[in-house]
């Protein structure tokens, strides 16, 4: 798709995470937002709507989240970068079409502003309870990419990154933010358009009658065309071959579904982005993502000043999970401390990847406020004294 710098609002602004997300989308060239209003994700759509006219973007408020994502998928095939924004309950309704997006290998971005669940939960309280859902929520086997921003600036950057990844790997990408970051107001610096990397759509060039919608390149990613260009292509949610025609047998299932997993798993190293601080000499490493890493980094400094060698591993990409890195670090450190605003999700992944080489402490975070470090500190202290590796996750209150 053509570069369209109209959306870039150059300069330094004082924005909430939600607004920054909308700006990020517009800067990334997103020109269609399809959504259903839900707390606490409203400001994203509000910002997008207020800027839509001048940027030349379209939006539609659908009747529910199911159709919101369906419309995004349809729109994406016209060549418009498209996204939807929601919160827990909406994400649950989107699960079927997340699967369709994976199967049609449709680039699109889903922004999830997590609030406390399950059910109606608490729409105005932050949480990180949808992390596993982002990975496993739809039926069938697939891999997905999920990013976790921890500040308005990152909301801006990661939204752009999300669009780039989804175009690069042709997979729906989830931006897993939370109510705290979404409503946090901070300075956001928006660089000029020419400093923003935009991943172009992988278009097919070649004779129209030769186009195969699911013929894969070397890196297992097929190429796209737009609706209305005369390619007369067919795509289906059924198990299909290169032509996009359904074939219902074991071989085709393998041929179709295995690459969906492989096209991500084979390139985990290219996709994952982690931010490390003081890991070289650390005996305890705090693994965190999203809002919790704000407290995690503070806790690290405090612990260091009180003489405990603590490092931090901040996950920018949560899915695919940085298995290798965690496994390496596990051999070097005594323990990991994993603060999360849920009852233990990513910590299970950490336990899996540490292969019994390090203790894994779970910190139930957020009770005393998102920026509060008490629980993390006490966990870190406990972890530093623990010299033998225990079985399973050690929960500390």
């Amino acid at each position: 798709m053509k570069k369209d710098p109209k959306g870039v609002l150059i300069g330094s602004h004082y924005l909430s995470g939600n607004q920054a997300c909308a700006e990020g989308a517009l800067s990334a060239g997103c020109r269609l937002l399809s959504f259903y209003p839900i707390m606490p994700a409203l400001e994203v759509s509000e910002r997008f709507l207020s800027r839509a006219k001048q940027v030349g973007a379209t939006f539609i408020q659908m009747e529910d989240e199911i159709s919101a994502l369906a419309a995004v998928l349809g729109a994406s095939w016209t060549g418009k970068k498209s996204m939807t924004v929601t919160s827990g309950p909406g994400l649950s309704l989107m699960m079927e079409h997340l699967g369709l997006g994976v199967m049609l290998e449709t680039p699109c971005v889903i922004v999830d502003i997590q609030s406390v669940g399950p059910g109606l939960g608490l729409p105005n309280r932050p949480s990180q309870g949808d992390m596993m859902q982002a990975r496993w929520g739809s039926h069938g086997d697939y891999e997905i990419i999920a990013l976790a921003p921890s500040s308005p600036q990152e909301m801006f950057n990661f939204t752009i990154k999300a669009f780039n990844l989804s175009e690069r790997y042709r997979v729906p990408v989830a931006v897993m933010s939370d109510e705290y970051v979404a409503h946090l107001k901070e300075e956001v610096v928006i660089p000029p358009a020419n400093e923003i990397e935009i991943e172009p759509r992988r278009y097919y060039e070649g004779p129209k009658d030769r186009y195969l919608p699911f013929k894969r390149d070397e890196d297992l990613v097929p190429r796209m065309v737009d609706i209305g260009e005369g390619y007369k292509f067919h795509v289906t949610g059924l198990t299909h071959d290169d032509r996009g025609y359904p074939i219902m047998n074991e071989e085709c299932q393998e041929y179709n579904v295995h690459p969906l997993v492989r096209k991500i798993r084979n390139y985990v190293e290219n996709i994952v982005e982690v931010q490390e601080t003081h890991v070289e000499d650390a005996e305890v490493i705090i693994i965190s993502y999203g809002a919790t890493s704000r407290a995690a980094l503070k806790a690290m400094e405090q612990a260091r000043s009180s003489g405990i060698k603590v490092g931090s591993l901040k996950l920018a990409t949560v899915w695919p999970f940085p298995e290798k890195r965690v496994a390496e670090l596990a051999k070097k450190v005594k323990a990991f401390a994993v603060p999360e605003m849920n009852f233990g999700q990513i910590v299970l992944e950490v336990e899996r990847c540490s292969h019994g080489n390090a203790n894994v402490f779970f910190v139930h975070h957020g009770e005393k406020g998102v920026e509060n470090t008490d629980n993390i500190l006490s966990a870190v202290k406990q972890a530093a004294q623990q010299n033998t590796v225990k079985d399973g996750i050690i929960e500390c209150e």
Binding site: P37, L42, E46, L49, Q61, P89
Partner: protein, 270 residues
């Protein structure tokens, strides 16, 4: 207490039905004390599913009077409304149509009329009585929140009808967190002053447009066999005497009675 709740209470009283038998699944939050005062059972369901939740309640125990009070009627729940009307489920659907949807920051919902919406919306509103009527609802009415007496009467009437009734109440802007009790009084006055009562008007003429007055009143009041009527008739026709009609159970408090009309099948020792 808010106008609607008052009217609701009066309606139940007029209808002569025990409040204890009234179940209200709703996607609008009620204050606990309101529920206590009404003496009903209240379920705060997920958005848009109040009607189907109610369908489950009703079919599992036909003795219940199920009254879904819905804000999201035509958005997520639109399809459920259509099909419940078609089946003629014994439900009284009260649609609190709050035009500007404060709950979600003033965005347009399907029943939002362009003039009233904060954001200019490119969408015309649903004509709820017409849609309900066309799908087979047996009782449709529309009032503004200030027509408390009329609402009460409508509720009393509808509660004693057998089938799906829908009462649309124009009550601008209940706020999500303070729930159903907080109504934008100026706007509702405005509606009230610009409304005219036309009972038995053909529902297809009662669409809400910026130009004309809001038509309120009782539009449909007909009889149709309910889902259960047809079910029992059909099955006894086909199966014959061996078929025991699917009937109501006494709402016994201690008798566990897991099962409909089949108390012996349930855990007495529950």
């Amino acid at each position: 207490m808010s106008l609607i709740i008052t009217a609701f209470a009066q309606g139940i009283e007029k209808s002569g039905i025990k409040p204890a038998e009234v179940c209200v699944p709703s996607d609008i939050p009620f204050e606990p004390d309101v529920v206590k005062q009404l003496g009903i059972d209240y379920f705060h369901t997920i958005r848009g599913r109040a009607i189907v939740f109610g369908t489950g309640l009703k079919l599992a125990n036909l003795a219940l009077k199920v009254v879904p009070v819905v804000g999201d009627l035509m958005t997520l729940g639109g399809n459920h409304f259509v099909h419940a009307s078609r089946r003629n489920m014994e439900l009284l659907v009260i649609c609190v149509n709050n035009f500007i949807y404060k709950k979600i920051g003033g965005k347009s919902i399907p029943s939002t009329s362009p003039v009233f919406s904060l954001y200019s919306t490119f969408e015309e509103p649903f004509n709820i009585p017409h849609l309900g009527n066309s799908c087979g609802a047996i009782y449709t009415a529309r009032w503004t929140a200030l027509h408390t007496d009329e609402i009460a009467i409508s509720i009393a009437e509808a509660l004693n009808k057998r089938g799906l009734s829908v009462i649309e109440i124009l009550a601008p802007g209940p706020d999500y967190y303070t729930g159903i009790n907080n109504i934008n009084s100026d706007l509702v006055k405005f509606y009230h002053e610009n409304s005219e009562i036309k009972n038995n008007e053909d529902p297809r003429n009662v669409g809400i447009t910026p130009e004309e007055n809001i038509v309120v009143g009782k539009f449909t009041d007909k009889e149709r066999p309910t889902f259960i009527d047809v079910y029992n008739a059909q099955l006894s026709k086909v199966i014959g005497d061996k078929f025991t009609p699917y009937g109501p159970v006494q709402t016994s408090r201690s008798g566990a009675g897991l099962g409909t009309g089949q108390n012996e099948s349930g855990g007495k020792n529950g």
